[in-house]
């Protein structure tokens, strides 16, 4: 027993070091998979409130460009008024999807797994797995919801897969991110007989319940031809500029429960 005390006294630094490192690594590993990710720490009221404050300061700096963008978007919406109508001030309803506008209060593009925090939460009707889009295209999916905030896994995340199709020939492919540049993603699972050109447009397929069909995802930047495999990969330029993201819409599928009840494997 005495020897044990001597041992602990002599190596207390090493023991503490190992204990703390093991604790840290357990925390890291525990938070690795997307489904286990507890973003509660980021979307809780203290950190959420803090990011809301800093975001308020930032919003002042961007008011002018934000205004211009909103005016442009208003004009675009007004031109589509023929088949969409406004239910009230904040929610635009079409038959299957409603769009809940939200502000980005924290955003990251430089990590390997990037998350966005928005200022709408459970009280605004948000639920995990809802899609998030902006004026220019797809942003990501809601992962975690707290009372007033929600965390969104952006497309700039190694766990993100978005189902898309080519706008001109309807072939389906998947868009992922290779953790390198926030402007570019990868289109995977393109059938190898398909000839792809630079500038081809990819839109959402509408198969995922999270996004309406035909929301812009990006354009092909570079098509690499790998002859020996069944599927090709291509470089994609996102239509969304993730580094200047300030205003997004959360997509609510009004028939989600009904569609889900038809899926057997759930």
């Amino acid at each position: 027993m005495y020897n044990l005390f001597i041992f602990i006294k002599k190596y207390n630094a090493v023991i503490l070091f190992v204990l703390l490192e093991v604790l840290c690594v357990i925390m890291v590993v525990h938070n690795l998979p997307y489904h286990n990710r507890k973003m509660a720490s980021v979307s809780n009221s203290i950190t959420g409130g803090f990011y809301k404050t800093t975001s308020n300061w930032n919003d002042y700096l961007h008011l002018k460009s934000e205004n211009e963008m909103l005016a442009e978007h208003n004009a675009m919406l007004r031109s589509r008024l023929g088949y969409e109508y406004y239910e009230n001030d904040s929610v635009i309803v079409d038959e299957m999807f409603s769009f809940i506008p939200a502000h980005v209060i924290n955003n990251n593009t430089s990590d390997r797994n990037n998350y966005i925090i928005i200022d709408k939460g459970r009280v605004d009707g948000l639920e995990p797995d809802m899609g998030v889009i902006c004026d220019n295209g797809v942003v990501g999916k809601v992962v975690n919801v707290s009372t007033h905030y929600a965390s969104v896994m952006s497309m700039l995340n190694s766990y993100s897969i978005i189902s898309c199709r080519f706008a001109d020939n309807q072939y389906v492919a998947n868009v992922v991110w290779d953790s390198k540049d926030y402007r570019f993603g990868l289109v995977k699972d393109i059938p190898s007989h398909l000839i792809i050109n630079k500038g081809d447009t990819l839109v959402t397929s509408g198969f995922s319940n999270s996004f309406p069909a035909d929301v812009m995802v990006g354009t092909i930047e570079d098509a690499e031809d790998t002859e020996n495999s069944q599927f090709n990969t291509a470089k994609l330029r996102f239509s969304t500029n993730f580094s200047t993201l300030r205003f997004v819409y959360v997509v609510k599928n009004n028939y989600r429960a009904e569609i889900d009840s038809l899926c057997i494997t759930r």
């Binding site: 070091f17 703390l20 690594v25 925390m27 938070n31 690795l32 973003m39 990251n108 990590d111 926030y182």
Partner: protein, 174 residues
């Protein structure tokens, strides 16, 4: 005694705020992640016991993690940083040099020594941080590139920040 405690608490809060509100939002490209909260561990007094260094490293790393949504990541790296600090000090100085010195600051130890000291610690810290973030051997090239680009920029920011916060008085005039 109380002075040091209050100064350390202010330093802690200030550095965490600076890291999460300013430097985590600066983008010098996707490979550069400037780290400034490590100053807290750099500047702890020479005679601080190892366990105190590591507990402090854990706390400040974890504080940054909570805001970044990456629990354990920065904490792990700064615990390692705190653990190796005594070794780095002992290989870059002689015992007699630091006997009458209080803390490893630029004012007391000189700029040249401080640059070497913080460079070595930053390399270890960033290497571990980025490797743990990538969590695979395959991405080792990317991790090395990140370290190579981040360390010099962090170092420059840290030195400028330290001069800005406590300017070294020019003794030769008096």
């Amino acid at each position: 005694m109380y002075n040091t405690l209050i100064r350390n608490i202010l330093r802690f809060i200030g550095l965490v705020l600076l890291q999460i509100a300013v430097f985590d939002n600066l983008r010098f490209g996707s490979f550069v992640h400037p780290c400034v909260y490590v100053i807290f561990i750099f500047l702890m007094p020479f005679e601080t016991p190892a366990w105190k260094l590591m507990i402090n490293g854990f706390l400040i790393g974890f504080a940054v993690d909570v805001f970044n949504g990456t629990p354990g990541l920065n904490a792990a790296a700064s615990v390692l940083l705190a653990y190796v600090r005594p070794f780095i000090i002992s290989i870059t100085t002689r015992k007699s040099d630091i006997q009458d010195k209080n803390e490893p600051s630029i004012a007391e130890m000189g700029l040249q020594w401080f640059v070497l000291y913080s460079f070595l610690l930053l390399v270890i810290h960033n290497l571990f941080l980025f490797w743990l973030e990538a969590f695979s051997i395959k991405l080792f090239g990317v991790v090395l590139l990140e370290v190579l680009l981040s360390v010099p920029i962090s170092l420059i920011i840290i030195i400028l920040l330290l001069y800005l916060l406590n300017p070294v008085k020019n003794k030769s005039n008096y």
